[in-house]
Symmetry: C2
Subunit: 197 residues, 2 copies
């Protein structure tokens, strides 16, 4: 294994270790450099060969989470194209994402209202990107004017993220109910935004 390869692998070990520490009781600001190093199987001082400090690692994790979010969007669009209601399919896809990437979603959710303004901003940007894409979709498919579509998309994304937060703590049965509830709420928003007045 070449030097570069080895270094990259260790770097990914660190990232993976950090994610695994972000369970339901820990936020980025609550995990220590030494803990991450321990979990990654390296000496504390070796951490510095890969990241300047914990903040730099944290921003990297937020980036990774944002990447996962964008993949989620693409997957949802693929599914919608192959039939099925838009709201239904989107919510189902989102709920599956949360179940499969719990700690990734938890990171976004927690740091969105967390103690580091840099993290907050980074997460905010990722969510904004999410809203923008949905806005374009609504303009295209529903023929709503842009400003209104943006407000609609904003509401929808907020409701879905909020439902996701609730789902994080719920068991399978409850998750199903949460999914149905948020679908109803999204339909309310859609109806309210497109109704002739």
């Amino acid at each position: 294994m070449s030097r570069q390869e080895q270094k990259l692998k260790t770097r990914q070990n660190i990232i993976h270790a950090a994610f695994s520490l972000l369970d339901e009781n820990r936020s980025l600001s609550a995990i220590s450099l030494r803990e991450v190093a321990r979990e990654a199987g390296i000496a504390p001082t070796s951490f510095y060969r890969h990241f300047k400090d914990m903040d730099e690692l944290g921003l990297t994790l937020v980036d990774e989470a944002g990447l996962a979010l964008r993949q989620l969007m693409r997957q949802a669009r693929r599914r919608i194209a192959s039939g099925g209601g838009v709201i239904h399919t989107s919510v189902e896809t989102f709920m599956e994402f949360i179940a499969a990437n719990t700690n990734v979603f938890r990171l976004l959710l927690r740091e969105h209202t967390g103690t580091s303004s840099a993290y907050r901003l980074a997460v905010f940007r990722e969510i904004q990107h999410f809203i923008d894409e949905l806005t374009d979709y609504i303009v295209e498919k529903q023929g709503v004017e842009y400003a209104l579509a943006h407000i609609q998309a904003d509401a929808m994304v907020r409701l879905v993220f909020s439902a996701g937060a609730e789902a994080l703590e719920a068991d399978d049965k409850l998750r199903g109910e949460i999914g149905e509830k948020v679908k109803t709420q999204l339909r309310f928003v859609q109806l309210g935004a497109t109704i002739k007045r």
Copy 2:
């Protein structure tokens, strides 16, 4: 000053000190017992004369915040009774609350998705109470059936809290825009929930 009075006063000093430490960069889990003691002007060990540990103090703070939230509701109802649109008045009242009790709202928001499940549950209950009250109001005023009213209230509260989170980081001008946006979103939800189908 009697012994009881003195003790109560110190206890409130501690609570006040804790709130003042909960600025934009600190959560409950990020403030230490010693810090609170320092800010309250007592020795670290004296803290134990009033609270078993930081968790007990934290739950007390959440309770206090919940109390403030209920006062907010009462104030909003009073204002609505004396005229003005329901959505408009509610959002304005809420935004004023955030401006005047920033750290209190921040506490609720942060611990809602925070690292302590006890705090999360406590905040969750306060918000649920908020939703229940709004549900009753909707049933009474709009004549919507209970289940539907609850879903509507749930969506509205989530949107308002989410807007509040955004407002926390915004300046006055942006806060105004956020207020207008969430009003529009609430009207969407209301329209969508009450429309004849």
